[in-house]
């Protein structure tokens, strides 16, 4: 399949190389022509603008820093929209804004062109290996058309539903992962300043429940909201966070995110949940967000992608 590829940065360059390695014929473009050198040496063709690429191929992949660059490439002067042919499928691999994706999707649809959002997860090493995870939103038929190309980039290419849904997953993934880093920093600074050597903290936390925790198991517990049998009583969790809070005050360590967690537990106790399992507090956030996330075990264990 001849594929256009726009945006040859760390991620884009590695993904384009994966496509090329697996035998795809590439036409590439980047604001820095230097970035294309290795791909051109290996046989790729160069195009001076997104519009020039759209003129040559019927599958275009974009990997750009963000919404502003995507908007220029897709909809701006010299952008894809200027010369794209009906039947073309554009796949945006960037982490983009769902709102902009929907707007661009609409513009392209009017020209008989399908836009898919397919943000990737896994970082540069897995981009080089072609073993990324891709979450893809947009027209399902278009997804099936380009899936062979996407399989060259990712070992997990997962269809998510309408345009923007791939990005929803990516944004949840990244924002939560980043918040977890920050809450870990609070705990590690507290542990260190309160007297445990960082090296020792690293060794021993790995052997406790936090270190042994698999996020995917924790998510399952939240989706199932299994409050019986009570594993960790919410009232006890509140006491533990309170003790940590007091230790932090004595040690002079601010705990912004852990304080927020403490407030959440107090709220849950006031809502009468003290004697339930700690996962019961999920109900508070559900109510705040006015949405329900509970799954049955059967739903949780059935595999949509199989």
């Amino acid at each position: 399949m001849r594929i256009g590829f726009i945006g040859l940065g760390t991620m884009g360059g590695a993904m384009a190389a994966s496509l090329q390695r697996r035998g795809h014929d590439l036409v590439v473009s980047d604001v820095r022509p230097d970035a294309a050198r290795e791909l051109l040496d290996a046989g790729a063709a160069w195009a001076g603008s997104p519009a020039a690429i759209a003129d040559l191929v019927e599958v275009v992949l974009t990997s750009l820093p963000g919404p502003d660059e995507f908007e220029d490439v897709a909809l701006g002067p010299g952008g894809l929209v200027q010369s794209v042919r009906p039947g073309t499928v554009i796949v945006d691999l960037s982490t983009n804004s769902p709102k902009l994706l929907k707007r661009a999707h609409h513009s392209f649809a009017q020209r008989g062109v399908q836009l898919l959002d397919a943000p990737v997860s896994g970082g540069a090493p897995r981009a080089r290996d072609g073993t990324l995870t891709l979450w893809v939103g947009g027209d399902e038929h278009a997804f099936e058309t380009v899936k062979p190309a996407l399989d060259a980039i990712g070992s997990q290419v997962l269809y998510m539903g309408p345009i923007g849904n791939g990005t929803v997953v990516k944004l949840v993934n990244n924002s939560v992962a980043i918040a977890i880093n920050q809450v870990l920093m609070e705990g590690l600074t507290l542990g260190t300043k309160a007297g445990v050597e960082p090296k020792r903290l690293w060794e021993v936390l790995g052997r406790g429940s936090l270190g042994q925790l698999r996020i995917v198991d924790r998510m399952a517990a939240l989706f199932l909201r299994q409050v019986e049998p009570v594993g960790f009583r919410l009232g006890l969790a509140q006491k533990d966070v309170l003790l940590a809070r007091e230790l932090a005050a004595e040690s002079g360590v601010p705990l912004r995110l852990i304080d927020a967690a403490y407030s959440e537990l107090v709220e849950a106790v006031n809502a009468g949940l003290a004697d339930q399992d700690v996962v019961a507090s999920t109900a508070l956030q559900e109510r705040r967000a006015n949405t329900d996330i509970v799954l049955t075990r059967a739903e949780l264990e059935s595999d949509t992608d199989r």
Partner: protein
């Protein structure tokens, strides 16, 4: 009455000076005896320890830096409690912990000594001018009997309720001030970083509806009577403004932690279906989280305001 005074620091010194200046006989104590010199020169007596102060005085005040110090002075070796006698009164002017003042009340009650917590607001300058606000909790008859003493250093003396109530009022007052400071820092940094000149911003903010209002004014219209349905400024409008404001923070890379919390409450309020209610309605969310209902009937509020 003979007055005992323990703790002659920056606040205590000024308050004791006011009491002495009003003609009261003083017996004082401080861990730094030199702090007592001026009072002794003016006719007061320096006691060797708190127990001696309590033995000689009818009414004892303490003005001390923190709960541990108050506990040591009141209940420790050679502390006030050792010479406590029925009919005496003890007023703690420190900003103390609620638990500690309640414990003092209980222990001194066993000896027949009335205790009030009476933390003050207004700083050393206010103390020197006799213009402190004093929040009193505890034994009301004892407070009323000695109210004249408080009037020598406070111009706004309020009996708030049972023991600890004065301290709670003071601490919540402080806390409101701290939050307001943090909020002001947040909006000024955003405003200036986004390009407004600080002085111009300050003048503009002071002139607005929030700027003109004293912090706790306006609560009688909506929050206290729980009347969130007659309004010209709906939650929808407030949400829109908060969204635009936090967008400015994002555009100019200024973290807006408090604003974001307030905005999140507004989102939650909209999800509850409160769009057309007053922007104050999000205060109900905190009541729910706290498991408490805060309401004063409108006619009671009206009477209080008319009396002012």
């Amino acid at each position: 009455v003979k007055i005992g005074f323990i703790g002659l620091g920056s606040m205590g010194r000024e308050i004791a000076t006011r009491l002495q200046g009003a003609g009261h006989e003083l017996v004082v104590h401080d861990i730094r005896p030199e702090a007592a010199t001026a009072f002794v020169t003016a006719g007061g007596r320096l006691a060797a320890d708190p127990a001696e102060v309590m033995r000689e005085a009818d009414v004892v005040f303490t003005s001390l830096p923190e709960p541990a110090v108050v506990e040591a002075v009141a209940l420790g070796a050679r502390g006030l409690i050792e010479s406590a006698q029925p009919g005496k009164a003890y007023f703690d002017l420190s900003t103390n912990s609620v638990t500690t003042v309640r414990e003092l009340y209980r222990r001194f009650a066993l000896e027949g000594v009335a205790v009030c917590d009476a933390p003050v607001s207004g700083g050393p300058a206010g103390a020197a001018a006799g213009k402190l606000s004093i929040y009193v909790g505890g034994d009301e008859p004892a407070f009323e009997a000695h109210r004249g003493l408080f009037d020598t250093f406070g111009d706004n003396v309020t009996y708030v309720g049972a023991i600890g109530a004065g301290t709670i009022a003071k601490l919540m007052h402080q806390c409101a001030g701290f939050i307001v400071n943090a909020a002001i820092a947040e909006v000024f940094t955003v405003g200036v970083r986004a390009g407004v000149e600080p002085l111009a911003l300050w003048r503009a903010l002071r002139s607005g509806a929030v700027g003109r209002r004293r912090t706790f004014d306006g609560m009688e219209n909506q929050f206290l009577p729980h009347d969130f349905d007659r309004t010209t400024f709906t939650l929808t409008l407030a949400h829109k403004d908060a969204r635009l404001a936090t967008e400015v923070g994002r555009e100019f890379d200024v973290p807006m932690r408090l604003s974001q919390l307030a905005f999140d409450d507004m989102c939650e309020g909209l999800e509850r279906g409160w769009a057309a209610r007053s922007s104050f309605v999000t205060m109900l969310l905190q009541e729910e989280r706290a498991g408490v209902h805060v309401e004063v009937p409108v006619e009671v509020l009206r009477k209080v305001l008319e009396a002012e």
